[in-house]
Subunit: 467 residues, 2 copies
Amino acid sequence: MEKLQDHPFHIFMNPRSVAVIGASRKTGKGSFNVIEVMRQFGFGGRIYPVNPFAEEIAGIPCHREVEEIGDAVDLAVVATPREQVLDVLRASARAGVRGAVVVTQGFADADPEGGSLQALAAGIARDTGMRILGPNTLGVLDAFTGFTTSFMPLSREPAPVAVICQSGVFFVGAAVFTGMLGKGIDIGNGCDLDCADALEYFGRDDQVKVIFLHIEGLRQGKRFHQVAARVARVKPVIALKTGRSALGARAAASHSGSMAGQHALYEAAFRQSGILSVEDQEAVSDFTKGFIHCGPMRGNRVGVITFTGGGGIIAADMIEKFGLQVAPLSPGTTGAIKDLSPPWMPIGNPLDIWPALMKHGMNHIYEAALRAVLQDPGVDGVICIAIAPNLPDDDFLNATEVIRETAVALPGKPVVAWLYGPNQDAVSKSIEAGGRVLAFPSLSRAARTLGALYRRSAFLGGVAPPA
Amino acid sequence: MEKLQDHPFHIFMNPRSVAVIGASRKTGKGSFNVIEVMRQFGFGGRIYPVNPFAEEIAGIPCHREVEEIGDAVDLAVVATPREQVLDVLRASARAGVRGAVVVTQGFADADPEGGSLQALAAGIARDTGMRILGPNTLGVLDAFTGFTTSFMPLSREPAPVAVICQSGVFFVGAAVFTGMLGKGIDIGNGCDLDCADALEYFGRDDQVKVIFLHIEGLRQGKRFHQVAARVARVKPVIALKTGRSALGARAAASHSGSMAGQHALYEAAFRQSGILSVEDQEAVSDFTKGFIHCGPMRGNRVGVITFTGGGGIIAADMIEKFGLQVAPLSPGTTGAIKDLSPPWMPIGNPLDIWPALMKHGMNHIYEAALRAVLQDPGVDGVICIAIAPNLPDDDFLNATEVIRETAVALPGKPVVAWLYGPNQDAVSKSIEAGGRVLAFPSLSRAARTLGALYRRSAFLGGVAPPA
């Protein structure tokens, strides 16, 4: 594999010096000043504000133009009005700048004139060798090194998740999409560097364990396909293709200048290259969490342990809906609970332990059940259903600890939980401590995530033969 | 319409005196003592514990059997071992008890013997006129009057939402299904009183504005259909049919003794009677919230106001996915924002106000946009997209107040919001204060809820003709 530092994106993520061209004189709260955000995020390299109308910005002396700086500049962040962007890019290239992030909107995302300007910008990249990210982008973010070009304040969390997107909403709203955001590249309109380049870069980056890809539209379909097929074998790639609807596609054309194209073609390309295509925000966060914390799911057979028969039925519905099967449990597994249940109680999968635990206590029964199910060779993953009571009043109903500890003692198979009741958020957080058991707000989302883990394992090979 | 108090369920929800037969001697935390839960929930009527082995339970003198009580008993709660249930029911009927809740498991939910016992219980109801709820049920709950037969502790919240279910998970886990639970009937195995009876009862109850129905299986399809068609014209009925999968159906048979039957038949029946069928837990809580707080959505044309072009595209995708359309905005509406945006900015629906608000400030622009869209005669409902920043640091980005106040000033059309960012929960809660604007964690769920509101209006008639 080629080296990370040889990739064109390396200088965007690891510059030693940055010129901010068209830097705003406004500073402080609500000013969206790139220089301030850059420093707050942790950038320790040299920053050169460029603004002919200012003496200094955020305490740093200003230059009238990029060629006046004199020192070597790795990266230019361009935030001038669109009319000046081409001149600024040419000047940056002359000054030896290696990469430029064009934040400015109003190119292929706007009117025909913007489209022409963008084509000329692409020409500058081709002619000079200076690579361009954007226009219409927040640029990049690397929470490990502490660098960003975003003018929107972002929190810094070195998580092993990289985001590639065509809209800043996935940076600013990372909390509701991937949940964590360690590195990010906003392709914007993608006049030069595009999704395939970003995917290739994060594919090489060992700090990145999962890649989330937001695509409005692609221009270089073939190269994307080749890169995707290579990267998807190394790490999970989750894709959300937007602009699916007729109107969404038109909106995408006017947002990032993308050709959203036919949805079915994208789906086929994702499938062939091993990319996991998702349809909604919840799948992005659930699958990201699943891939970060769970090992492989080596078959599609799911064991369900439940406090509630009604919940077990929902689990069975969802397991089938998401391409999995309710595991036929071995006689040893069911026997362990049958002996502790009333004689009339039908024991199978879903494994309804309520009557047994009413008799013998929760910790004893939940541990026996989870242990037996995890050790059953016919089970590839487990869904645990338990109550999320109002703590600490009903703590005797809280199965958090026994589930977590039993699962930790028997590593290997994915264990997910659905905790129903008035205190779902807090109890879910508590069961997730350590990352062995993952909690989901609904059985639908729990089962869908196991389905994604299984599809990933099936794609990589080495899953159990169908029962 | 017939009177509420003439309905067989009336005595179950409003008893003056209750015998608890097979009352447990264990009291205190973790004992699941029905008498204690009943009192804590607020029941002020007379309670008669019946247990031949105890002198008193929870401070109340015990009776050896129900016929010894002497006083009139409206309701019996039966929690004896299953072998004693038939005798207890016969004795209760002789003692003049008007209704019995059979909590005990082990009937049609268990083995063939349990099935026979259940058939005999049903015979007792027919022969004596004493109505039976269950077996295998938590019974009832009425947070308005403060009565429940549940042995699981429940919080009391007089919300205008009634739940009819075949599993206690919808009582105990109400927080994650309907979100609120003012009244509930757990049909259990339904040997006598069934879903149709409960639906009829809540249909008559003016304190109930929305009914959620969980169905594993029905026996009296025709009667259900008739009642449902009548009730659905009066108030929204949301149904979650479980046991959809082959295995789920088998599990339902062993859980509540239900014949889950063919999914398509249920779907057809729901559609014909005007019941809104849902597939997952999230739809239950979202639609309940939508019907409680929103007025009718008189057409399917949705206006979208957004901070983010990328988010607007997702909104457009979801609007089409859920049977709605992106409203073509009138020239007056787009003009209001076009004049405040850079000249190159394409202005349409979704209405991307980011460049305008960067120039003119958030409150001014968001108010102008929402006002114009709400007053546009071509718009039937609105999705507002805004950031959920880390408060109070980034409070200048918080559109909560302006959205809420503008919507309150222009009542009528449903307004839903998607707030993306690190502080979604708190900002969502704040925008929902007063109930005029509803927030959803994803655009998918926001659009799906508007879709449900529209389908309800279309069912009742009087929606706008298609554009």
